[in-house]
Symmetry: D2
Subunit: 313 residues, 4 copies
């Protein structure tokens, strides 16, 4: 299978539609990104990365960071994390508070905002916020073998300034005693984590552990246990795109996690990780071109966790 | 891999816990079933079936029938079915009406009751109810190569007599113009389909198409296209256990669909189909022992769609 | 106070706007009513009735009938009725099912559809449906001293044929064991009661008991106890216009109950009852001109239960 | 009518049950109040005040303050206030956020917490928070002719420290652009207003404007227009006790507003204002003994806005 050819064909097939969808505009740093950007990267077991377009330009990964925060919180907390956050699809938009009220402040899963805030709280643990952020960055540097991964402080500051809804969610959970750390401490980490800047290449490389049972096959670094890696994939498939997750599982057929910066990270267990980036979003907040690129790659490669014939490499 | 050994080990490991959970008691025909029944069957590509316990005793498949109804409705309607029913997890119990009110009578997915009623309506199409039921039975006979599969008319009648909630859901959707056939015609098929009686062996054999891209590898019969088979698996993984689907995906790692009769059907794409039966249910209405048996089989076989190492046969 | 002058002034002030609002169109019998009809009647303690416009033409009273059904159910059941139906505003539209799901099938109050269906069920009691309907009509004849009050069977039949939502509500409650009689029996009375045809004059006369502590000051007939009459007024004020009740209490200042036929019944305790009719409805399903007429009458008379100066007659 | 006798009889009839109900315990200042406190005061047109029990001891008026905040916000903003907050019962508990999400951050009415926060925001207007608080206190001093009314700073501080839910509501609304002032400024006034300490006597005297069309008959001071006073009464009747308002209107029959400090303020238009205080609350957060005292006073006086015979003084 010629993955470089597949990546190129996919990019070319969609290139004319760059700029479709609606970029997130709630903070200046996102609104100012060139909407025609479009990058694709596929990383495989042997360390190869197949790229097209703007795959080496960093963008704000936003909610894609929830995958890393979850892996690291699980690493710190173990199964106790699941007392703080559920593992079920929410059936609601990413920032809904309705479910929280009905279920006494316990978020449905780690990929909706409320669940990610709790996950971040547990990832911080008994450290200070800055130490937690440093730990997160350092892990990403190691996994991606690239120390240029950084936090866009402008984005983080803007997130905080416009973060009334997330603040509301956090205080709501605090009211139910769901947070261990002070609300503003948790949010300070949460907003910085949303502001992490990575390229498609860095994203695909940093997340190989997802496709290979918890251990990066290139560096040999273990991010989490086999069982936990599989479970993170399960959660991504079920909840990675909020109330658009079914559509994504349906069209693409493998786990993914989207961010409003236009990035999507996907995992094909046993084969590869994929990262795509195009700022224009669909109605559900997922990159429009990105989701279509992944569907085309799924078609061209035959990769699908639901396939009866697809062979692992 | 010695599947007979795995099936036997699993059965033996759980045999002492037969009778745990709470059998469905809303109709006499279900309440009278011996709660200690426990059967397991695994069917594979070459026609082998590995069984343990009460795998040859028929039980009421209840909501497991939604998988067959969906496959057959898709076969009749094609993608137009998705205008009548969604493809997203509902985040609610199986018989919730809240989501229906918010979304103008369009059910979230084909595996909650409202969605299954719409699916049945489309499967009936412009035929009479009896013709639709005959068609469904005949397909099951062919797929399972077993004409003993039948409808338990006692169960169907009891379902109808106690079916106030399902009647409410159906009239609610009718109020939004969502049904093509008269409510009572649709329900007459729906209740009979819930009353289908099959054994674990029959269930595993009849559903091999799910694990092998739409075509039964033993009979060569095609139930649906490759793409549709994959998508039914996706829906089973995301929505097959109502608001317990995340937990199941998490613990078991492959698609499944449960019924309140205590049966669970599961599919391991490329490998096998599995059927388990034990009447006692957990809080979410899934067979307690059945779910544990599947989790043990997943552990013993390494089967998981999220695994980075699992090789297809 | 010259009530005839006030009634005439109000009618004249609004006459040019006859035809505004949107008449209910869900059944032919309502859609065919002349939308420019406009009638007003005020009945007082001494048997006088002050009328303007089409006050002597009968129309379909629809949900206004819920007031009579409630008074008569209370008469049969006493306070036990409140175990079957609540006494709180619902904060939702008249036919919402969301609240029913959350509160186990117990309706919030007797004036939303679900609550009226339960009330009708209790009013039927252990009699047959036809006997209950005959009892209701006979009481209206006596209270209004007018045997021309009748049931429009065309309307009742249409209501039943298009009544999928009400059927859904009824089956939903039946599923929770909330109904004593078979669903179709209850609905047969409910739909006929909605189809009662009365004129403004008849409506105002039949409901004097509301304004005078349960006993009609003209006929001397007692409909219910003093305490119950006051409580029906309280419920009308709090819940008489679904999720528009606050607006009505705010603008008009005394208890009322609207119907989608365009009628509104109102009660000024100690003074009078009022009935207005104009088929065009506002967004919340209350007669547009009717509500404005009542607000003008409130202004012109100074009648308000919240007034610090208003003196009873 | 001997009001002193009625007040004494009511106090004596309930004295043995002092201490029933559950005092609010979420802040120390409330938890430490002697639970057996029980005071009653009735103020009438001519300046008389009829008291029993602990009617001269100050307590934390909590949500009763929402009545004063509403009157003063209406005075500043006029009808424009109703673009910021609705006038309908919410059908939900006082601190529910569900309705806010469904209705884009606009609270249902000024007496649920979210609505009171918006009302406070408008009452502040373009002044600083401290100036607004000073204005509120000064008005209370004038209306009650008593400068001992003050803010319990301990209570206000505790409210703020434990106010995660209210903070969540405020940020939620801020996210929808519903607040003119910074969240923390609004809350600083809101928490201080909840911490106002008044006695039953002061409360009854300060609120006579409610029963007398906006103007205090003793001091001659006008708090708001006739129309607005009536409307505040309407809102109190419909929404003054959250999802227990129907019950209260039913049992008591005139407008009231409760606070979790155990106080209830009530208004009998044309007759009197009443204030009761007993710290133990019922399930809905209203003073248990207080509500019963008001019901007894209603019985003994015959006061009810729904009565057909009750004559104004």
């Amino acid at each position: 299978m010629d993955l470089q050819q597949i990546v190129d064909d996919t990019w070319n097939a969609l290139a004319d539609e760059r700029g479709s969808g609606t970029p997130a505009g709630y903070i200046p740093a996102l609104a100012q990104v060139d909407p025609t950007k479009f990058g694709i990267a596929i990383a495989t077991r042997d360390g190869s990365v197949f790229c097209a377009g703007d795959a080496d330009e960093q963008f704000s990964i936003q909610s894609v960071s929830k995958v890393f925060a979850l892996a690291m919180a699980l690493d710190r907390e173990g199964a106790a994390l699941w007392e703080a956050v559920g593992r079920e699809p929410s059936g609601n938009p990413f920032n809904s508070i309705v479910q929280l009220e009905r279920e006494k402040g316990k978020p449905r899963n780690p990929f909706i905002n409320s669940g990610a805030i709790v996950t971040t709280d547990r990832f911080i643990g008994d450290r200070g916020p800055d130490e937690a952020v440093a730990d997160l960055l350092s892990r990403l540097h190691n996994m991606a073998r690239d120390t240029r991964i950084t936090i866009d402080e402008d984005v983080a500051r803007s997130e905080s300034e416009t973060g009334a809804r997330n603040r509301s969610l956090a205080y709501f959970m605090a009211d139910f005693g769901r947070l261990l750390n002070p609300v503003e401490d948790v949010l300070s980490v949460y907003f910085r984590q949303c502001g992490i800047a990575m390229s498609c290449r860095q994203l695909a490389e940093a997340s190989l552990f997802l496709a290979f049972d918890g251990t990066d096959p290139v560096t040999g670094l273990t991010m989490c246990s086999t069982e936990r890696a599989r479970r993170i994939n399960a959660l991504m498939l079920l909840c990675g795109h909020y109330d658009n997750s079914g559509e994504f599982a349906f069209d693409v057929g493998f786990p993914g996690k989207s961010g409003v910066g236009g990035g999507i990270l996907a995992s094909v267990p046993g084969r590869a990780t994929l990262a795509v980036w195009s700022p224009g979003l669909n109605r559900a907040g997922t990159s429009l071109l990105g989701a279509r690129a992944l569907a085309q790659i799924a078609d061209r490669t035959g990769w699908s966790v639901f396939s009866g014939t697809f062979e692992k490499s």
